[in-house]
């Protein structure tokens, strides 16, 4: 995972928090709901393992299950339509779904993001220091592009 991924996740999480804290700033109820779902899909896509698979389709399926669990027997439509007569329930339910998705999208990934960011910072510092350090050193060549032979025999 790269520094770019880490920055993207930070941005998405911050935007999700803003939408839940002040939904009216982001348009109609349906608009907020769809923006949140899209952000969660992008979040999942960004955190996908780099194996060529795009793991974001699950967000829609998870959302349908989530709605079915909270509003049994509800027709297949958006939560904002289903809660048209109880609008105060919409944002708390969306906040709950966002929290569940963050957990489902693996806490290990946020550890990886953090690792990647820390690694990037140190590599950047080293890149700036390297010319000076190598000048100070008697020999800048520590390793030689030639493997050390080891025995082929098995102990």
């Amino acid at each position: 995972m790269t520094w770019v991924v880490s920055k993207l996740i930070d941005f998405i999480d911050e935007r999700l928090n803003h939408m839940i804290e002040a939904p009216s700033m982001w348009g109609s109820s349906e608009s907020v709901e769809l923006q949140i779902l899209q952000l969660l899909e992008i979040r999942s896509l960004v955190l996908s393992a780099p194996d060529g698979q795009s793991h974001w389709h699950h967000v829609q399926a998870d959302y349908e299950r989530f709605i079915a669990a909270h509003l049994p027997g509800a027709p297949p439509t958006t939560l904002s339509v289903l809660l048209d007569h109880e609008p105060s329930k919409l944002i708390p339910l969306l906040a709950q779904f966002v929290a569940e998705q963050r957990r489902a999208q693996s806490s290990g990934d946020s550890v990886q993001s953090r690792n990647a960011w820390e690694f990037f910072v140190i590599e950047s510092i080293m890149a700036k220091m390297r010319p000076t350090l190598e000048k100070e050193s008697e020999s800048s060549v520590n390793y030689h592009v030639r493997p050390v032979r080891v025995t082929d025999k098995v102990a």
């Binding site: 990647a116 820390e118 008697e138 020999s139 493997p147 025995t151 102990a155």
Partner: protein
């Protein structure tokens, strides 16, 4: 043909041994910092009762001589660990030159995940590498090289350096691999700079 620095080091040691000299004691040092690590052997040579100290910069040729031709253990276990880490780090560097740094490191970490006997879980979690596809030819070639480097060093430690064929030797290789992970991914430094 010009002889390399490493070949000259080996020629020198061979000449000492041929003249009834011996390596009485061997030490190994490395600087763990942001700069070059300058791995160095300090060899105490004994010839006709006289002792002399020789400080020799690490080279693959010198290492092969002290591993295979004239197996020599370090005075302290910590030094042996640093020496093994230098060998493993060098061999990882060569495979990085062939496959690219990020890819080789990803395969290295992926390989270590399959070896719980080295007890590296804590460091693997802190190593930011993607999971490589295990089906590709590059993966297989890279992994084969690294597996040989690790298993070969362990076998060399047992067969040549006469370390016991016991879990303590596996643990020593595991510590050396941990040093390589720490060095490559700046894990100790990150823990100091970014405490969690």
């Amino acid at each position: 043909m010009t002889r390399t620095k490493g070949q000259l080091q080996v020629d020198f040691l061979k000449s000492v041994i041929a003249a009834n000299g011996q390596i009485a004691k061997a030490n190994f040092s490395v600087e763990r910092s942001l700069g070059p690590s300058n791995p160095t052997y300090v060899l105490c040579l004994e010839q006709h009762g006289a002792l002399s100290l020789q400080e020799l910069p690490w080279t693959p040729e010198l290492e092969e001589f002290l591993l295979l031709e004239h197996p020599t253990t370090m005075e302290k276990k910590d030094e042996e660990r640093e020496r093994f880490a230098t060998i493993l780090g060098n061999n990882l560097r060569t495979v990085e030159a062939q496959f690219g740094r990020d890819y080789a490191q990803a395969v290295f970490v992926d390989l270590l995940k399959d070896h719980p006997e080295y007890n590296l879980e804590r460091l693997i979690v802190k190593s930011p590498t993607p999971t490589p596809s295990r089906q590709s030819e590059s993966y297989l070639a890279c992994r084969r090289f690294l597996e040989h480097a690790i298993a070969g060093l362990q076998n060399t430690a047992i067969l040549k350096l006469r370390y016991p064929d016991e879990p303590t030797t596996v643990a020593l290789i595991g510590e050396a691999l941990g040093t390589v992970l720490d060095d490559r991914f700046h894990i100790s430094l990150r823990e100091q700079l970014f405490p969690r």
